[in-house]
Symmetry: C2
Amino acid sequence: MGSEIQEIKNTIVQRLPKRVQVAKVEFEGPEVVIYTKNPEIITENGDLIRDLAKDIRKRIIIRSDRSVLMEPEKSIAKIQEIVPEDAKITDISFDDVTCEVIIEARKPGLVIGKYGSTSREIVKQTGWAPKILRTPPITSEVIQRVRRTLRKNSKERKKFLQTLGNRIHREMPSENEWTRLTSLGGFREVGRSSLFLQTTNSKILLDCGVNVAGTDDKSSYPYLNVPEFVLDDLDAVVISHAHLDHSGFLPYLYHYGYEGPVYCTTPTRDLMTLLQLDHIDIAHREDKPLPFNIKHVKKSIKHTITLDYGEVTDIAPDIRLTLHNAGHILGSAITHMHIGDGQHNFVYTGDFKFERSRLLEPAVAKFPRIESMVMESTYGGHEDVQPTRNDAEKELIKTIYQTLQRGGKVLIPVFAVGRAQEIMIVLEEYIRHGIIEEVPVYIDGMIWEATAIHTARPEYLSKDLRDQIFHMGKNPFISDVFHKVNGGNNRQEIIEGEPSIILSTSGMLTGGNSVDYFKWLCEDEKNSIIFVGYQSEGSLGRRLQKGWKEIPLKEDGKTNVYNVKMQIKTVQGFSGHSDRRQLMDYIRRLSPKPEKIMICHGDNYKTLDLASSIYRQYKIETKTPMNLETIRIQ
Amino acid sequence: MGSEIQEIKNTIVQRLPKRVQVAKVEFEGPEVVIYTKNPEIITENGDLIRDLAKDIRKRIIIRSDRSVLMEPEKSIAKIQEIVPEDAKITDISFDDVTCEVIIEARKPGLVIGKYGSTSREIVKQTGWAPKILRTPPITSEVIQRVRRTLRKNSKERKKFLQTLGNRIHREMPSENEWTRLTSLGGFREVGRSSLFLQTTNSKILLDCGVNVAGTDDKSSYPYLNVPEFVLDDLDAVVISHAHLDHSGFLPYLYHYGYEGPVYCTTPTRDLMTLLQLDHIDIAHREDKPLPFNIKHVKKSIKHTITLDYGEVTDIAPDIRLTLHNAGHILGSAITHMHIGDGQHNFVYTGDFKFERSRLLEPAVAKFPRIESMVMESTYGGHEDVQPTRNDAEKELIKTIYQTLQRGGKVLIPVFAVGRAQEIMIVLEEYIRHGIIEEVPVYIDGMIWEATAIHTARPEYLSKDLRDQIFHMGKNPFISDVFHKVNGGNNRQEIIEGEPSIILSTSGMLTGGNSVDYFKWLCEDEKNSIIFVGYQSEGSLGRRLQKGWKEIPLKEDGKTNVYNVKMQIKTVQGFSGHSDRRQLMDYIRRLSPKPEKIMICHGDNYKTLDLASSIYRQYKIETKTPMNLETIRIQ
């Protein structure tokens, strides 16, 4: 047993009341697990654990010693007796490895009880430590899959966490002398984001994305083949958010033998699983196989450690990680790392939105300390000023209103994660208030599944939405106005039916059902197509924006030409990225100010423009590394 | 046999006259060796080999097949018959491994003969290929040692060169995608220079120095412990010049298992051997052992491949190296690397002097191509303007003249390599012309040995000196005015004797015999001490410059105070570094101009000052990396 865990055990035994029998204390990943025959004594005394955790600077989990566990059958009956029926338990299962009972319920708050009272009662009466999960109001196949994978591999996972725990708490051979960052992808470009942080003692990978617009392996994947990136020495991967340009290459690491952890929020884990599986699926269909497969997505799930915003976690002997809300998509995070014992504090913004949206709170701008920062610059050019959310919504609604008035249908091509849900919330509200008439809103493709994941994690939504959902019992996502599209026949009916609004992927009409809808709808001038996101050069979306009226499209080997008569509308202002003003405003509001800012995730010109503006306005040193450069931050 | 050597062999056989029997063709390091039974046919036809070498873009060596070699005894007689007595052969030995006869002579030119005629005659008559070495007019123990080491390990060396040859000519698994530079030491500081160049396919280390003023291992040695520096993957080390801050850590590489080549000029090899051995010796005496020993210096000699200025050499499958005169010290080089097939050209100036000195020609400023450059900035601050050479000499001579006039002695503390020889040339000339009276000039410490090495390589000296030595037969270094000091008694005689000039190490009075001379001479106001080099903060030299008149010095455990009455004089302008004007002028004269210049080898402030001045004046992008940063150059 390592000396650190021994020391921790001594502290714990000293602090706990004498009557508590501590059977075992061990590391499980970044956490300390106490096995005891009297879990009820500890759990009844919440302050005790809180103080203890503060003292040893670790998160603590209490588990029962196997000997005090009630039989599962009896435990189920007991739990159903303790938990109010209103909680709507949908499943109870037992994990022999961790001595946990996993309770899935529609209203998990009622399983926890006031200040955890119900949950504590379960421990007291059954011995099993409850792990309480939300049953989403819309069934999510991905979440079911993730939960099944974790449940089935509980033993393997425990072993992984124990090994990891010892690695995180290893002794450092020497003091840290330096910290540096190497840009492996996504610098002076957008796509394949990947940043490698090295201290003298530890190695962390921040994001591991793909450039889906890449033309070959060299332009699609981050530069993981550089000599300083040694997979065996990697302590951790941190994923800022689920979009493929930040998470898409993660399965590759597991294909090539990575056995370490991935840290991210729970929504990021679920959403990236969805997007990674879809990516593999599309690649397979297009006969452009990726250098990894479903197995490696599964391996990644088994190695993921989810963190809530604000949870301080040791991920290496000299690094403490904290994730903060980034306001970009559900679960998106700004990564804060505390390096060494007060030596350095580093922040990686990932993609962030510094404005309240319908879906999310604005990005966090206050940190205990920052010395250096890497920030995105997607809209970093001085001309990249977007309309306000309010104006954007008005513009969207006006176009929809007019289209429906003239008996037309509205097609909104959207990216499945983020933008789609933002638009859904807007539509639901305007329909509920009668500003646009109550027509069906069809949700096609992956959007439905992504929405289901949103309903499973209401804690990550904006305060307004949380209030609606928790206090007023109104979840806009499950409103009757939304209709899931089921396959081809259903689509035919939609096209031939009454006026409606259709949300479909892909967002740039580069494939997927949105292209089919476009074909069906484009030749009728009553209809509209509304673009709410960026259309990249060469995409069908961009061509329509440019005013092309004759669109040749390949179908079953021959080319058909479509005469576009529908209204083409672009509404700006729904971006999940901060616009130029918000980027500059973020630096203004940032507290404290870093000494050095490195700019990433932007075209060459926007990167340089933002860097020089920040330097001029705030006199903070800025750097604009290219991919494969290394910057010393300490 | 690799496909490349096979192809080369085919070309060679096709091109050579039918009657030449080619026994074997193989790589030996970067060169191609042809073994033949008729060496005389090839060597007689100089153009043939020159054209062939151009064609296969490799240097070619012709060696005889063992079967045609004459017996050594008979060969010696034959050689003495062929070579004119005037050549003054001092040694003839035979290398069975390479089938070479090594002829050492006072006048190697006469062994070579007009257009190589004498040398060819030796091949023709004995079969042995002559390798002709200069016997220096002053015996150099270091050169003897180096030659002995190479002779004794001829077999091992041949094996090393063959392995290396195959490695250099290996097939590249993929095209180069990038080239980058990582600063491992000597950036924003002076000392421990080391620069790591990586292409997708190759890894080269440029310089490997120590900071002799470092207080611990961390501040003394370059950062070789970074993950991207993998010793096994290193293709080559290039040493720019012999000073320890560029070559001092080289033996460490061999201690830690490096088995690859070191490229440098012949004087650099010899001078750095001298300085490395001295460094080990001093460390041993001061009981501060270094992390390597004499064995590793020897291993480094065995792995050194010497190159002449202008010789283009393959050192990796995608890198061609050319060394050019840097004007800093004997054999100092500016490193030019041609990367890929026309992809990129990189220049590392090392330390350079862009002004003709007594000893050397000014640094080369014309290259076939340069895209990026790393340059030194020792005197990069805008205030770092030095007097001209001419003014410096006048100042020096005036002080010496006055001292001798009043019957005093002159002590000039100097660094053994470079500055000492420069001063010697000046003194010899002014004494020869009768401007200062003919007093003995005592050469103490390592200076004598360093001077001996200078006399062995007159080809590397300035045109003026070469003319004097080769055409007028006057070698200033062997002038009668110079007297080698032999041990303690001799010094006592010098002190008690007539007026004289004493050159002694160390140059900053931080140890060595110069301190003893100071003690003996300082209390007599007739004497002078003249500083001709930089005195670092804290050194005794600097204290004297500041005007200290009472100097406490520890001797045999007790402290004695010396009352300084001698004249203290500092003469600037003898530096081996370009001053600020010369640095700026170098960029102005540089042809062609690079797109990017990185600044190294200077204090933080001087680095930044030079970088911004170059950018302002020439609009060339400049970078000022810190140690451990990586810059992408292509």
